[in-house]
Protein backbone atom coordinates (compact mmCIF):
# COMPACT_ATOMS: atom_id res chain seq x y z
CA UNK A 1 0.00 0.00 0.00
CA UNK A 2 1.36 3.35 -1.03
CA UNK A 3 1.13 6.07 1.63
CA UNK A 4 3.26 8.91 0.31
CA UNK A 5 2.67 10.61 -3.00
CA UNK A 6 5.43 9.87 -5.50
CA UNK A 7 6.15 11.26 -8.93
CA UNK A 8 4.39 8.18 -10.32
CA UNK A 9 1.13 8.57 -8.44
CA UNK A 10 -0.84 9.49 -5.38
CA UNK A 11 -0.70 7.69 -2.05
CA UNK A 12 -3.74 6.33 -0.27
CA UNK A 13 -4.27 9.32 2.11
CA UNK A 14 -4.28 11.77 -0.81
CA UNK A 15 -6.71 9.65 -2.76
CA UNK A 16 -9.09 9.15 0.15
CA UNK A 17 -9.09 12.83 1.10
CA UNK A 18 -9.49 13.89 -2.54
CA UNK A 19 -12.62 11.82 -3.20
CA UNK A 20 -14.07 12.41 0.26
CA UNK A 21 -13.80 16.16 -0.21
CA UNK A 22 -15.04 15.98 -3.80
CA UNK A 23 -18.20 14.18 -2.70
CA UNK A 24 -18.69 16.39 0.37
CA UNK A 25 -18.14 19.67 -1.48
CA UNK A 26 -20.54 18.85 -4.29
CA UNK A 27 -23.00 17.44 -1.75
CA UNK A 28 -22.73 20.60 0.35
CA UNK A 29 -23.49 22.75 -2.69
CA UNK A 30 -26.66 20.80 -3.45
CA UNK A 31 -27.63 20.72 0.24
CA UNK A 32 -27.04 24.46 0.52
CA UNK A 33 -29.18 25.29 -2.50
CA UNK A 34 -31.93 22.98 -1.30
CA UNK A 35 -32.04 24.00 2.35
CA UNK A 36 -32.46 27.74 1.76
CA UNK A 37 -35.74 27.12 -0.04
CA UNK A 38 -37.23 24.79 2.56
CA UNK A 39 -40.68 25.43 3.87
CA UNK A 40 -40.82 26.49 7.53
CA UNK A 41 -42.78 23.36 8.38
CA UNK A 42 -40.42 21.00 6.59
CA UNK A 43 -38.97 18.33 8.91
CA UNK A 44 -35.56 19.25 7.48
CA UNK A 45 -35.90 22.99 8.14
CA UNK A 46 -33.63 22.72 11.16
CA UNK A 47 -31.63 19.55 10.46
CA UNK A 48 -30.46 20.46 6.94
CA UNK A 49 -28.63 23.64 8.04
CA UNK A 50 -27.32 21.77 11.12
CA UNK A 51 -25.75 19.17 8.83
CA UNK A 52 -24.48 21.85 6.43
CA UNK A 53 -22.73 23.75 9.24
CA UNK A 54 -21.33 20.59 10.85
CA UNK A 55 -19.95 19.15 7.62
CA UNK A 56 -18.58 22.57 6.72
CA UNK A 57 -16.51 22.79 9.89
CA UNK A 58 -15.20 19.23 9.41
CA UNK A 59 -14.31 20.10 5.81
CA UNK A 60 -12.40 23.14 7.02
CA UNK A 61 -10.36 20.90 9.30
CA UNK A 62 -9.83 18.39 6.50
CA UNK A 63 -8.74 21.18 4.15
CA UNK A 64 -6.02 22.28 6.56
CA UNK A 65 -4.82 18.70 7.03
CA UNK A 66 -4.78 18.21 3.29
CA UNK A 67 -2.86 21.41 2.71
CA UNK A 68 -0.19 20.40 5.20
CA UNK A 69 -0.03 16.94 3.61
CA UNK A 70 0.26 18.47 0.16
CA UNK A 71 3.13 20.74 1.20
CA UNK A 72 5.00 17.79 2.63
CA UNK A 73 4.41 15.55 -0.39
CA UNK A 74 6.47 15.19 -3.50
CA UNK A 75 4.95 16.38 -6.74
CA UNK A 76 3.51 13.94 -9.21
CA UNK A 77 4.82 13.87 -12.72
CA UNK A 78 3.26 16.44 -15.05
CA UNK A 79 5.70 16.11 -17.92
CA UNK A 80 3.06 14.91 -20.35
CA UNK A 81 1.12 18.17 -20.03
CA UNK A 82 1.55 20.99 -22.48
CA UNK A 83 3.10 24.16 -20.98
CA UNK A 84 -0.28 25.93 -20.92
CA UNK A 85 -1.96 22.89 -19.34
CA UNK A 86 0.75 22.78 -16.71
CA UNK A 87 0.15 26.41 -15.75
CA UNK A 88 -3.64 25.97 -15.68
CA UNK A 89 -3.36 22.81 -13.60
CA UNK A 90 -1.14 24.61 -11.07
CA UNK A 91 -3.53 27.55 -10.85
CA UNK A 92 -6.56 25.30 -10.35
CA UNK A 93 -4.90 22.84 -7.94
CA UNK A 94 -3.34 25.51 -5.73
CA UNK A 95 -6.26 27.88 -6.23
CA UNK A 96 -8.63 25.37 -4.67
CA UNK A 97 -7.03 25.91 -1.25
CA UNK A 98 -7.62 29.66 -0.81
CA UNK A 99 -10.97 29.37 -2.59
CA UNK A 100 -12.28 26.62 -0.30
CA UNK A 101 -10.76 28.29 2.75
CA UNK A 102 -12.58 31.55 1.97
CA UNK A 103 -15.79 29.66 1.17
CA UNK A 104 -15.77 27.83 4.49
CA UNK A 105 -14.69 30.86 6.52
CA UNK A 106 -17.46 33.00 5.02
CA UNK A 107 -20.00 30.36 6.04
CA UNK A 108 -18.53 30.25 9.54
CA UNK A 109 -18.55 34.07 9.83
CA UNK A 110 -22.17 34.19 8.67
CA UNK A 111 -23.33 31.71 11.31
CA UNK A 112 -21.26 33.24 14.11
CA UNK A 113 -21.92 36.93 13.35
CA UNK A 114 -24.21 37.21 16.37
CA UNK A 115 -21.67 35.55 18.67
CA UNK A 116 -23.28 32.10 18.59
CA UNK A 117 -20.90 29.17 18.24
CA UNK A 118 -21.20 26.64 15.42
CA UNK A 119 -22.33 23.26 16.70
CA UNK A 120 -20.63 20.35 14.94
CA UNK A 121 -23.27 17.64 15.22
CA UNK A 122 -23.65 16.96 18.94
CA UNK A 123 -19.95 16.46 19.12
CA UNK A 124 -18.27 19.79 19.82
CA UNK A 125 -18.82 23.46 19.14
CA UNK A 126 -16.59 26.04 17.51
CA UNK A 127 -16.85 29.44 19.22
CA UNK A 128 -17.39 32.70 17.38
CA UNK A 129 -14.17 34.62 16.77
CA UNK A 130 -15.70 37.81 15.40
CA UNK A 131 -18.93 39.05 16.91
CA UNK A 132 -20.17 41.66 14.46
CA UNK A 133 -23.94 41.64 14.02
CA UNK A 134 -24.78 42.64 10.46
CA UNK A 135 -21.68 40.90 9.09
CA UNK A 136 -23.92 37.96 8.13
CA UNK A 137 -25.21 39.91 5.14
CA UNK A 138 -21.81 40.45 3.52
CA UNK A 139 -20.54 37.04 4.61
CA UNK A 140 -23.65 35.42 3.15
CA UNK A 141 -23.24 37.17 -0.19
CA UNK A 142 -19.58 36.15 -0.34
CA UNK A 143 -20.48 32.58 0.63
CA UNK A 144 -23.00 32.29 -2.19
CA UNK A 145 -20.63 33.79 -4.75
CA UNK A 146 -17.69 31.59 -3.71
CA UNK A 147 -19.91 28.48 -3.70
CA UNK A 148 -20.87 29.17 -7.31
CA UNK A 149 -17.26 29.94 -8.21
CA UNK A 150 -16.14 26.70 -6.56
CA UNK A 151 -18.62 24.70 -8.63
CA UNK A 152 -17.32 26.41 -11.76
CA UNK A 153 -13.72 25.49 -10.89
CA UNK A 154 -14.84 21.93 -10.01
CA UNK A 155 -16.38 21.73 -13.49
CA UNK A 156 -13.15 22.94 -15.14
CA UNK A 157 -11.13 20.49 -13.05
CA UNK A 158 -13.47 17.61 -13.99
CA UNK A 159 -13.48 18.46 -17.67
CA UNK A 160 -9.68 18.66 -17.67
CA UNK A 161 -9.39 15.28 -15.92
CA UNK A 162 -11.80 13.69 -18.40
CA UNK A 163 -9.91 15.22 -21.31
CA UNK A 164 -6.64 13.72 -20.09
CA UNK A 165 -8.35 10.38 -19.57
CA UNK A 166 -10.32 10.03 -22.79
CA UNK A 167 -8.53 12.25 -25.30
CA UNK A 168 -4.92 12.12 -24.14
CA UNK A 169 -5.28 8.50 -22.88
CA UNK A 170 -3.07 9.42 -19.93
CA UNK A 171 -3.18 8.02 -16.37
CA UNK A 172 -3.70 11.45 -14.80
CA UNK A 173 -7.23 10.62 -13.65
CA UNK A 174 -6.52 6.94 -12.96
CA UNK A 175 -3.64 7.65 -10.61
CA UNK A 176 -6.01 9.61 -8.33
CA UNK A 177 -8.19 6.51 -8.22
CA UNK A 178 -5.81 3.54 -8.20
CA UNK A 179 -2.50 5.20 -7.30
CA UNK A 180 0.75 4.60 -9.12
CA UNK A 181 1.55 1.92 -11.71
CA UNK A 182 3.45 -0.08 -9.16
CA UNK A 183 0.35 -0.48 -7.06
CA UNK A 184 -1.47 -2.54 -9.64
Amino acid sequence: MQIRDTTAGYGLPTRIIHWLMAAAIIGMYVLGLWMVDLNYYSPYYRTAPDIHRSVGMLLLFLLLVRFAWRLSSSRTDDSELSPIERILAKVVHWGFYPLLLALMLSGYLMSTADGRPVEVFDWFSVPALIHDKGMEKTAGEIHEFLANLTMFVVLLHTLAALKHHFFDRSRILARMWTGSFKDQ
Partner: protein, 190 residues
Protein backbone atom coordinates in the same frame (compact mmCIF):
# COMPACT_ATOMS: atom_id res chain seq x y z
CA UNK B 1 -54.22 98.42 -5.91
CA UNK B 2 -56.80 96.05 -7.16
CA UNK B 3 -56.05 92.39 -6.73
CA UNK B 4 -57.36 89.81 -9.10
CA UNK B 5 -59.36 86.98 -7.69
CA UNK B 6 -56.61 84.57 -8.54
CA UNK B 7 -54.08 86.62 -6.56
CA UNK B 8 -56.38 86.68 -3.55
CA UNK B 9 -56.72 82.93 -3.67
CA UNK B 10 -52.96 82.62 -3.92
CA UNK B 11 -52.36 84.92 -0.94
CA UNK B 12 -54.97 83.07 1.11
CA UNK B 13 -53.27 79.78 0.26
CA UNK B 14 -49.86 81.13 1.25
CA UNK B 15 -51.20 82.48 4.55
CA UNK B 16 -52.87 79.21 5.47
CA UNK B 17 -49.79 77.22 4.53
CA UNK B 18 -47.60 79.37 6.74
CA UNK B 19 -46.95 77.48 9.98
CA UNK B 20 -49.26 78.66 12.73
CA UNK B 21 -47.04 77.45 15.53
CA UNK B 22 -46.42 73.81 14.59
CA UNK B 23 -42.80 73.03 15.29
CA UNK B 24 -40.64 70.62 13.38
CA UNK B 25 -38.95 67.83 15.22
CA UNK B 26 -36.27 65.39 14.15
CA UNK B 27 -36.67 61.91 15.56
CA UNK B 28 -33.77 61.30 17.93
CA UNK B 29 -32.25 58.28 16.26
CA UNK B 30 -28.84 59.91 16.66
CA UNK B 31 -28.83 59.28 20.41
CA UNK B 32 -31.24 56.36 20.15
CA UNK B 33 -34.26 57.71 21.99
CA UNK B 34 -36.48 56.10 19.43
CA UNK B 35 -37.02 52.55 18.28
CA UNK B 36 -39.05 50.58 15.77
CA UNK B 37 -39.83 47.22 17.26
CA UNK B 38 -41.78 44.31 15.88
CA UNK B 39 -43.13 41.11 17.25
CA UNK B 40 -44.69 38.10 15.62
CA UNK B 41 -45.95 34.86 17.08
CA UNK B 42 -43.67 31.86 16.78
CA UNK B 43 -45.82 28.82 15.95
CA UNK B 44 -48.51 30.39 18.12
CA UNK B 45 -46.46 29.44 21.18
CA UNK B 46 -44.58 32.63 21.99
CA UNK B 47 -43.76 36.13 20.78
CA UNK B 48 -40.61 36.69 18.82
CA UNK B 49 -39.37 40.27 19.02
CA UNK B 50 -36.98 42.24 16.89
CA UNK B 51 -36.27 45.74 15.70
CA UNK B 52 -34.98 47.86 12.88
CA UNK B 53 -31.73 49.37 14.08
CA UNK B 54 -31.51 52.15 11.47
CA UNK B 55 -34.18 54.62 10.52
CA UNK B 56 -34.75 58.34 10.48
CA UNK B 57 -37.69 60.66 10.43
CA UNK B 58 -39.28 63.95 11.28
CA UNK B 59 -42.60 65.15 12.62
CA UNK B 60 -44.46 68.39 13.02
CA UNK B 61 -46.34 68.86 16.26
CA UNK B 62 -48.31 71.68 17.77
CA UNK B 63 -49.59 71.27 21.29
CA UNK B 64 -52.52 73.57 20.58
CA UNK B 65 -53.45 71.86 17.32
CA UNK B 66 -52.37 68.22 17.58
CA UNK B 67 -54.59 67.24 14.67
CA UNK B 68 -52.33 69.22 12.34
CA UNK B 69 -49.43 66.95 13.24
CA UNK B 70 -47.51 65.17 10.52
CA UNK B 71 -44.96 62.41 10.66
CA UNK B 72 -42.57 60.94 8.11
CA UNK B 73 -40.23 58.00 8.69
CA UNK B 74 -37.80 56.07 6.53
CA UNK B 75 -36.56 52.66 7.69
CA UNK B 76 -33.43 50.86 6.49
CA UNK B 77 -34.84 47.36 6.01
CA UNK B 78 -31.34 45.86 5.99
CA UNK B 79 -30.99 46.87 9.62
CA UNK B 80 -33.52 44.27 10.79
CA UNK B 81 -32.26 42.68 13.97
CA UNK B 82 -33.96 39.78 15.70
CA UNK B 83 -30.82 38.84 17.62
CA UNK B 84 -30.07 35.87 15.36
CA UNK B 85 -27.76 36.35 12.37
CA UNK B 86 -29.00 33.46 10.25
CA UNK B 87 -32.64 34.38 10.80
CA UNK B 88 -31.95 38.02 9.97
CA UNK B 89 -30.26 36.90 6.77
CA UNK B 90 -33.41 34.95 5.93
CA UNK B 91 -35.63 37.93 6.80
CA UNK B 92 -33.57 40.14 4.43
CA UNK B 93 -33.92 37.60 1.66
CA UNK B 94 -36.55 37.04 -1.01
CA UNK B 95 -38.90 35.12 1.30
CA UNK B 96 -39.49 38.23 3.39
CA UNK B 97 -38.23 41.81 2.99
CA UNK B 98 -36.14 41.31 -0.19
CA UNK B 99 -33.88 44.14 0.96
CA UNK B 100 -31.70 44.10 -2.17
CA UNK B 101 -34.75 45.18 -4.13
CA UNK B 102 -36.49 47.16 -1.37
CA UNK B 103 -33.77 48.64 0.86
CA UNK B 104 -36.13 51.05 2.57
CA UNK B 105 -39.63 51.23 3.97
CA UNK B 106 -41.37 54.58 4.39
CA UNK B 107 -44.32 55.96 6.27
CA UNK B 108 -46.01 59.30 5.51
CA UNK B 109 -48.93 60.35 7.64
CA UNK B 110 -52.04 61.74 5.95
CA UNK B 111 -54.31 62.44 8.92
CA UNK B 112 -54.25 62.56 12.70
CA UNK B 113 -57.45 62.10 14.69
CA UNK B 114 -57.74 62.75 18.39
CA UNK B 115 -59.78 60.73 20.83
CA UNK B 116 -59.20 61.92 24.37
CA UNK B 117 -55.51 61.53 25.09
CA UNK B 118 -55.18 58.97 22.31
CA UNK B 119 -54.69 59.58 18.64
CA UNK B 120 -55.13 57.64 15.46
CA UNK B 121 -52.51 58.35 12.82
CA UNK B 122 -53.47 57.38 9.31
CA UNK B 123 -50.85 57.24 6.62
CA UNK B 124 -49.25 55.37 3.78
CA UNK B 125 -46.73 52.68 4.54
CA UNK B 126 -44.52 51.46 1.72
CA UNK B 127 -43.03 48.11 2.61
CA UNK B 128 -41.67 45.42 0.28
CA UNK B 129 -42.59 47.70 -2.62
CA UNK B 130 -46.29 47.77 -1.65
CA UNK B 131 -47.93 50.99 -0.51
CA UNK B 132 -50.91 50.56 1.79
CA UNK B 133 -52.85 52.81 4.09
CA UNK B 134 -52.37 51.87 7.72
CA UNK B 135 -53.50 53.33 11.02
CA UNK B 136 -51.32 53.70 14.08
CA UNK B 137 -52.82 53.93 17.56
CA UNK B 138 -50.69 56.56 19.21
CA UNK B 139 -50.37 58.30 22.52
CA UNK B 140 -48.30 61.21 23.63
CA UNK B 141 -45.97 60.14 26.41
CA UNK B 142 -44.62 63.54 27.35
CA UNK B 143 -42.77 66.58 26.15
CA UNK B 144 -41.26 69.92 26.99
CA UNK B 145 -37.91 71.45 27.77
CA UNK B 146 -35.06 68.98 28.14
CA UNK B 147 -32.18 69.58 30.61
CA UNK B 148 -29.79 70.64 27.85
CA UNK B 149 -31.58 73.66 26.45
CA UNK B 150 -33.65 71.89 23.83
CA UNK B 151 -37.24 70.87 23.51
CA UNK B 152 -38.55 67.37 22.97
CA UNK B 153 -41.82 65.53 22.42
CA UNK B 154 -42.31 61.80 22.80
CA UNK B 155 -44.93 59.39 21.54
CA UNK B 156 -45.67 55.73 21.57
CA UNK B 157 -47.67 53.85 18.98
CA UNK B 158 -48.72 50.43 17.79
CA UNK B 159 -50.08 48.96 14.60
CA UNK B 160 -50.66 45.52 13.17
CA UNK B 161 -49.63 44.55 9.65
CA UNK B 162 -50.90 41.45 7.86
CA UNK B 163 -47.80 40.19 6.02
CA UNK B 164 -49.84 39.16 2.96
CA UNK B 165 -51.05 42.75 2.52
CA UNK B 166 -47.46 43.68 1.74
CA UNK B 167 -46.79 40.75 -0.56
CA UNK B 168 -44.85 38.73 2.00
CA UNK B 169 -46.23 35.25 1.50
CA UNK B 170 -43.76 32.92 3.19
CA UNK B 171 -45.81 30.55 5.31
CA UNK B 172 -44.89 30.85 8.98
CA UNK B 173 -48.07 29.13 10.05
CA UNK B 174 -51.63 30.17 10.84
CA UNK B 175 -50.70 31.95 14.08
CA UNK B 176 -48.05 34.07 12.37
CA UNK B 177 -49.92 35.92 9.65
CA UNK B 178 -49.55 39.33 11.24
CA UNK B 179 -46.68 41.30 12.66
CA UNK B 180 -47.20 43.90 15.37
CA UNK B 181 -45.16 47.08 15.36
CA UNK B 182 -44.39 49.02 18.51
CA UNK B 183 -43.05 52.49 17.81
CA UNK B 184 -41.24 54.56 20.42
CA UNK B 185 -40.57 58.02 19.09
CA UNK B 186 -38.86 61.00 20.66
CA UNK B 187 -38.21 64.11 18.60
CA UNK B 188 -35.90 67.05 19.17
CA UNK B 189 -37.27 70.44 18.15
CA UNK B 190 -35.31 72.09 15.38
Amino acid sequence: MKLSRASLVLIAALLSAAPASAADYVIDTDKAHASINFRIKHLGFSWLTGRFDNFNGTFAFDDAKPEASKVSVEVDTNSINSNHAERDKHLRGKDFLDTDKFPSATFESTAVKLDGDKATITGNLTLHGVTKEITIDAKRVGGGADPWGGERQGFTGTTTLPLKDFGINYNLGPASQEVELALEIEGVRQ
